[in-house]
């Protein structure tokens, strides 16, 4: 269905609403002490030094919704940027439930989206989005803090990593088998409980469309876009590092962490700059996509290439 221009919140109005919600943003408090999971090897688990206020970014100019909804990578629906726009015809997103479990979860559960919203409340974050293909957008996400869902599952000492699984359904996804199985992504537990990590369910106060990962997707703004698993059906707390789809597809070019870093190029192209989709010219890419102050402490050695591809 084409989006009428009247459906798009005028930016000024949108900003005003955001400002009203500003209190919500600033109170992005984290009810977590870094200790429930024991130490995640080498990785800093201490999240006390995160200053939530620093994450609010009123200076970012959000990309138009029309563009966000028509320039997508969702290989289960085809390899082009336009193909995923047809996903709404086949992918049924309601009812939808997300199963949270895994060896590291003492209290597994099955949630539906409305339940998650009701229980945890919706947060609104305007974030930079940087694709590994060197293009970027600014997306006003609505969703819930991933940390809250993880905490509810009561992580035990075996919860070292979080594994995300996308729906895998040949009936609903014409190109479901491009990677030979469901799309898998993963985070360390410390990354997953970081206040920047969220489970998004909407953009511009509208529910996600199929091509942007409806009904629920991961958002990790300091990482490349392929980490943002879409249409999530399972979240598992696991002990071993999950092999995410792109890592498995091409281990020479993609790894587990995939943090944005302009200094570490993709083997075939530069990551130093990025195209802002919908605009002209390029801009310089920022370390951790501009979120270095918030997340750099998670990685003990910023010279280690492992963290950046």
């Amino acid at each position: 269905m084409p989006i009428k221009s009247s459906d798009i919140t005028p930016e000024v109005l949108f900003r005003q609403r955001r400002r009203m919600l500003g209190i919500g943003l600033a109170s992005l408090s984290l009810p977590l002490a870094g200790s429930w999971f024991g130490d995640t090897e080498e990785l800093n688990n201490n999240i006390d030094n995160v200053t939530p206020g620093a994450i609010v970014q009123p200076e970012l100019k959000a990309t138009e919704l029309k563009i966000i909804n028509s320039y997508n990578n969702y290989y289960e629906f085809g390899f082009s940027k336009e193909a995923p726009s047809g996903a709404e015809k086949t992918l049924i997103t309601s009812p939808w439930s997300v199963e949270v479990g895994g060896i590291g979860a003492d209290k597994p559960g099955i949630y539906d989206i409305a339940e998650l919203h009701g229980e945890y409340g919706i947060e609104n974050h305007i974030r930079r989005f940087r694709c590994v293909e060197a293009w970027s957008m600014v997306v006003p996400w609505n969703g819930i803090a991933l940390a809250k869902v993880i905490k509810a599952a009561q992580p035990n000492s075996k919860a070292k990593y979080v594994r995300f699984e996308t729906l895998h359904d040949e009936q609903q996804m014409p190109n479901a088998n491009w990677a030979g199985g469901p799309y898998i992504e993963g985070l360390t537990i410390a990354e997953a409980i970081h206040p920047l990590a969220m489970l998004a369910t909407g953009i511009y106060d509208k529910p996600l469309e199929q091509q942007t990962g409806a009904p629920v997707r991961l958002v990790v703004p300091w990482k490349y876009g392929f980490k943002y698993a879409k249409s999530i059906v399972r979240i598992d707390l696991v002990e071993r590092m999950p092999r995410n789809t792109w890592w498995r597809q091409n281990p020479n070019e993609y790894g587990f962490y995939a943090n944005v870093n302009p200094q570490f190029d993709h083997p075939r192209w530069s990551q130093a700059t990025e195209r802002v989709v919908g605009g002209f010219g390029r801009q310089k890419t920022l370390l951790f996509n501009g979120y270095a102050d918030e997340v750099a402490y998670l990685y003990p050695d910023l010279g280690d290439r492992r963290y950046f591809y």
Partner: protein, 188 residues
């Protein structure tokens, strides 16, 4: 069919194609990427097409009468390359030369494209009867055999710019390999 009519159809077809792609680009989510990619892709088809003539006219000698079609395929290909480069320099990089230089240095695939472009320039300039006469056929032909370097460079450039080994450039590369095999195995 009369050669002039064939050429006329090619020009008309290309003009309609360019106009249509212009309209499509205005509706695309990202105008710049759309123009950059469609011009690049069209150029690779046209340039590869020019290499089809030698082997095909061996199969079908009458094709030699239409050899001029090759010249215009090449020139239209060059035209697409120009659009590709102009979009890249102006819309994508907003004439930021230092940033462009940094990108060229960081990206092997852009190097390949740049070398192909430089090699293509003298070919485009000498794609007319006057140049054939001035250079003499032998030298002219020598100069234009650079096409056998340009096309692999262009297709390599296209292939390497993709995130995954995607089908289209691979098919084009396979066609190229087959052509090369044919061309040199059955060379006069």
């Amino acid at each position: 069919m009369d050669l002039r009519r064939v050429l006329w159809l090619i020009h008309l077809g290309m003009i309609i194609f360019v106009g249509w792609q212009g309209v499509m680009a205005m509706q695309a989510a990202d105008l710049v990427t759309y123009l950059r990619d469609v011009s690049g892709r069209t150029a690779s088809y046209l340039l590869l097409g020019t290499l089809l003539f030698a082997p095909l006219s061996r199969l079908w000698p009458r094709l030699r009468l239409y050899i001029k079609v090759r010249r215009y395929l090449g020139l239209w290909g060059f035209c697409m390359v120009l659009i590709h480069v102009i979009v890249w320099v102006s819309l994508e990089f907003a004439f930021d030369w230092s940033l462009m230089w940094q990108e060229v240095n960081d990206n092997l695939f852009i190097w390949l494209g740049l070398v192909a472009l430089i090699l293509l320039l003298p070919m485009a300039v000498t794609s007319n009867n006057k140049a054939v006469r001035r250079l003499g056929f032998r030298r002219w032909q020598g100069l234009h055999s650079v096409a056998y370097l340009i096309v692999p460079l262009s297709l390599g450039h296209y292939f390497m710019a993709q995130k995954v080994a995607s089908g289209e450039p691979i098919v084009l590369l396979l066609v190229l390999l087959l052509l090369m095999f044919w061309r040199f195995k059955y060379a006069d």
